[in-house]
């Protein structure tokens, strides 16, 4: 529904103060998607895959290179910049997907198992980056089977199963849902597991 592919059966979706229409794609620039399975272009290089969002945004070539190399350095992918996407290992693909989703500083991040193919150190690095984005004002949804073992007042945790949703170990008075950047009115959508 947030992608504008489906209409909610009731109510409406307001994202960044604007009502979402069916088939609208303009707002997707403000959403960073991280999928469990790679969505990159296999025959293009890591660098080209990472520049795609910036090309769509009309960023200048020099600025594009600067931002792409910043992310490649951050994630330790610089030596693979000119490698074809299909030549990457599972972890490298995951990090490239991560970088592509976050390179334009989206206001909403939807991550489905973002650390699935990574070791603990790399997973921590990615979660730290997500945390930084959250602190910069982004709303972050992470769907995972391996939630972080710690509690934090700013993390809302939900367990989604059997078409039901249940809030876990949270402190509701610390962060009212109205403070989320995205608000959904009407029926709840069915999702898996959200932290």
């Amino acid at each position: 529904m947030l992608c504008g592919v489906e209409k909610p059966s009731e109510g409406e979706i307001i994202f960044l103060g604007r009502r979402l229409r069916e088939h609208s794609v303009g707002h997707l620039k403000h959403i960073g998607f991280i999928f469990q399975n790679p969505r990159g272009l296999p025959n293009e290089t890591v660098f080209d895959n990472l520049t795609l969002p910036l090309i769509i945004d009309g960023i200048s070539k020099a600025d594009r290179e600067k931002r792409v190399f910043h992310w490649l350095d951050l994630l330790g992918l610089r030596p693979r910049a000119r490698s074809k996407y299909r030549e990457l290992s599972g972890g490298e693909v995951q990090k490239t997907e991560f970088a592509r989703a976050l390179i334009r500083k989206p206001r909403l991040i939807l991550a489905d198992e973002p650390t699935a193919h990574l070791d603990a150190v790399q997973a921590d690095l990615l979660l730290d980056i997500l945390w930084d984005h959250y602190q910069d004002g982004a709303t972050v949804f992470i769907s995972t089977h391996h939630p972080p073992p710690f509690e934090h007042p700013l993390i809302l945790r939900y367990h989604v199963a059997n078409y039901g949703i249940k809030r876990l170990g949270s402190k509701p008075d610390l962060l009212p849902s109205s403070e989320l950047n995205t608000t959904t009115s009407g029926q709840e959508s069915e999702t898996q597991e959200v932290t």
């Binding site: 794609v25 303009g26 999928f35 969505r39």
Partner: protein, 264 residues
Amino acid sequence: MVRFILKEASLLIAFIVLGGLLLLCFWVTHNVHENVLKEYKNSQISVVLKTGADEGFRELVEKNHNVIRYDYFSSAKNKERLGETYPELKNIIAPLEERFFPSSALVTVHDASKFLQLLDKSPELFQTQVLHQPPTKLSRFLNVMVVIFSMLWLLTLTLVLYFNLERITVREEPRWSLMKMLGAKPFMLFWPLWHGQALRITIASVCAMILAAAVSHQLRAFLVWDWTTLPLSVWIGFFFISLLVTSAISFTLFSVRYRRISIG
């Protein structure tokens, strides 16, 4: 893929042939209008005069505001014209006296029925009259043909673009899907696609124009009138309309297709 290419190639040939036929139809319509219909822009009436009624008839038509112009042919002139029309009879016609050839007039009028009513009131002036009406049925037929060929041409163009897009979609769907997920507007992806389609239609349009020009050149040798070529504006118009329609149809087809592309 081979099936797709064969389908596209055959449609492109159909597009060229239909484009050529459309232009030929324009050409015939244009020449019929120029050579036949222009002549009949106003109704014309041939009037065969009675002996000695020449002056009375002249007076009648010169005073009448319904008459645009008239051409008078004396007995001698009609005898001469008949000899020119039928040269094989010239020797037989030459010794005949002029009284066997009545004088006549070809009158061009605004309103034929009004003039015929006027003639009916003066039966002493003429022997008979013939009303020449413009060939409206032929004109209507040609216009219908132009519409039919235009529709067929448009349909073929749509099919050419549709199958071309379908083939490209098979190849480009992952990229479009990713670009859509990243918020790319349809126009961004359409623009590079348009270049290929516009080039293809430009070449096909030029081929259709060459085909039409060649066929019309051959046909001119068989036709009785002095058939002129189509004005330059029609050729240029055909070319640019082809491009414009291609852009509009391509973008519409692409937008519809892009909507159906799943995100990511």
